[in-house]
């Protein structure tokens, strides 16, 4: 049966995050011919609504208010609850990002609903919407559904493909009047620390460094390779603990869980806690001078060698072949 699906989109620094489009594609599948409505909140989001339609939303609801300039669970919670109560969707999808992780449980609690977090795939089984999600940091998977009532799920970036952008698509854009009151948490300041523009959880390619990079400067050749490939730089906990880089780069069981198309591990031994965060990447390359390193057991391709020799050569070679194209 056709369903009505609400997709809560997210922008970052005035740009829609790609996972918003992936969530719309997921919404389309769940809607099964029904309607997909995208909602976006912020101080000024009018410029973003067209793209939501081009990527498949049938209708867009925007909520603009100066109190929505930065995300707060109270502010955005009021807006999205108001929208949910007026359109009464069968399913609600959010991105599994900082925002989605923070607000989805609040909405679920308010609606007395089941929430499936961090879904990587969706299938329909009759009337049931079945989600696949990693458990034990990707060491296993489970399939799960909501038994009754509205289904809420957060969608992990990079796993469900967005639809092709189609600029000929049209859809109505509605403005939701919102009055934001009683913000119990106030964001005083946001300190931007992310170095490159590429976000780890959404990156298609990740160059990760471990204790083998030996110093903060040792990350430079990795960053150069990342720049050539439009990749993000990540790290093992070993590198973070040794202060070679910020903890925000950590990948693994107690860091980020990533699933890029290509993961290049440089000077990382491949401890089980690190593998938990990256072993579901599509293609893994290991560069390590120890042929016995465990990372080679999960790598599709390996080079046994000194990363300070191999990585710069790799950068040169990619530069060469990508230029001639």
């Amino acid at each position: 049966m056709a369903k009505k699906v609400l997709v809560i989109a997210e922008s970052r620094e005035s740009e829609l995050r790609n996972v918003s489009f992936e969530a719309i594609a997921a919404g389309k599948e769940i809607a099964a011919g029904g309607e997909v409505i995208a909602a976006i909140a912020g101080e000024n989001v009018s410029a973003l609504t067209d793209a939501l339609v081009h990527y498949g939303a049938d209708r867009v609801i925007k909520a603009e208010n100066e109190k929505l300039s930065t995300y707060t669970s109270d502010g955005y919670g009021q807006v999205f609850l108001q929208i949910i109560n007026s359109i009464k969707p069968d399913a609600i999808l959010l991105p599994h990002t900082s925002m989605g992780k923070d607000i989805a449980p609040k909405l679920a609690s308010k609606l007395d609903a089941g929430l499936i977090s961090d879904a990587t795939a969706i299938e329909l089984d009759g009337e049931d919407i079945v989600f696949t999600r990693p458990i034990y940091s990707g060491k296993a998977f489970e399939k799960k559904k909501v038994k009754a009532g509205v289904t809420i799920a957060t969608i992990r970036p990079n796993n469900i493909s967005a639809l092709e952008k189609d600029e000929s698509r049209s859809g109505e854009v509605f403005s939701e009047d919102v009055e934001i009151k009683d913000l119990r948490t106030i964001v005083k300041e946001v300190v931007r620390k992310s170095t490159s523009g590429v976000d780890l959880s959404e990156a298609k390619v990740i160059i990760a460094g471990g204790r083998g990079v030996k110093s903060e400067d040792g990350f430079e050749p990795l960053q150069e390779l990342a720049d050539v490939l439009g990749a993000a730089v990540g790290a093992s906990r070993g590198a973070c603990d040794a202060d070679y880089c910020d903890y925000s780069l950590q990948i693994g069981q107690t860091g980020k869980v990533v699933t890029p198309d290509l993961y290049i591990a440089c000077g990382i031994s491949g401890a089980i806690q690190h593998l938990a965060g990256m072993s579901n990447s599509k293609v893994i390359v290991a560069i390590n001078k120890d042929p016995e390193a465990n990372i080679f057991n999960v790598a599709d391709y390996g080079i046994v060698g000194d990363l300070f020799e191999v990585v710069p050569l790799l950068t040169q070679e990619f530069k060469k072949v990508l230029q001639t194209n």
């Binding site: 296993a140 106030i186 057991n297």
Partner: protein, 256 residues
């Protein structure tokens, strides 16, 4: 200050996962305090040392959780509470939240701390769900916490950026890595912990109806990811290996 920590017992991060009869096998598995909850316990102890008051660690689970609760007491918490749910067949984040909300129903609290996510189910739902249910504000993935009177000034990790947030107590916060360095229990700490109060409550003693704790979600299947085939370790001169790798990534794997 009345300080509470919600804590979960989870698999040691070294453990491999075995599935038996559709369930995750616990046979021979080492358990630990969920690593993120350890940060929460440490922060709670530091808050108490700075502001006075009492730290109570609350966990839901089987009798075996007593071991991890004793560890929390040995670290320095004052009291522990185990809400025993062994008899409860079917449970999800909705259930857990309802039980915790019922427990906190008649308590006075200034702050509740928890981990931002558990390393087994990794939903990260319990903190925000609970705060919403008991009507207090929450701040997730915090890396710094300062309390002055009834005002909390917090740094939170937002995908690498740092947000500085202000909120009033009572408040719920969830810990991110980097919040502190959890201490190891000391020998005197372990001795003292044996005499500290550990209260056990059966879940059905809480003021909550059966239909209020019925799980909203259902697990249909659990499985292990397909085993990876051994990869290709390249050989030859390093220049050739690099050229070969780039070719393979473009032509065989087609990821670049």
């Amino acid at each position: 200050m009345n300080i509470f920590v919600i804590m979960k017992r989870t698999f040691d991060t070294e453990e491999k996962i075995v599935i038996e009869n559709g369930k995750i096998s616990e046979e021979g598995v080492e358990f630990i305090i969920n690593p993120y909850d350890e940060y929460a316990i440490e922060e709670a102890i530091q808050l108490r040392d700075d502001h006075g008051g009492e730290v109570t660690v609350v966990s839901i689970g089987s009798e075996e959780v007593e071991k991890e609760l004793r560890t929390a007491l040995a670290m320095g918490a004052d009291k522990a509470v185990l809400i025993n749910n062994e008899e409860l067949e079917d449970s999800d984040q909705y259930t857990t939240t309802a039980l915790l909300a019922a427990y906190f129903g008649d308590k006075e609290y200034d702050i509740i701390l928890g981990g931002n996510v558990s390393n087994d189910n990794s939903t990260g739902q319990i903190g925000p769900r609970l705060a919403e249910k008991i009507g207090i504000p929450y701040v997730t993935t915090i890396t710094k916490l300062d309390i002055d009177g009834s005002t909390a000034t917090i740094e939170r990790d937002v995908e690498g950026d740092v947000e500085i947030v202000e909120a009033q107590l009572p408040l719920l916060v969830t810990a991110q890595q980097g919040l502190n360095e959890p201490r190891y229990p000391s020998l005197p700490g372990i001795m003292k912990a044996k005499k500290k109060p550990l209260e056990e409550i059966d879940y059905d003693e809480l003021d909550v109806e059966d239909d209020e704790i019925e799980a909203k979600t259902e697990t249909i299947e659990r499985y292990l990811p397909p085993k990876k085939e051994a990869g290709k370790v390249l050989d030859g001169e390093v220049d050739d290996q690099v050229q070969e790798l780039v070719k393979l990534l473009r032509q065989e794997a087609k990821v670049i």
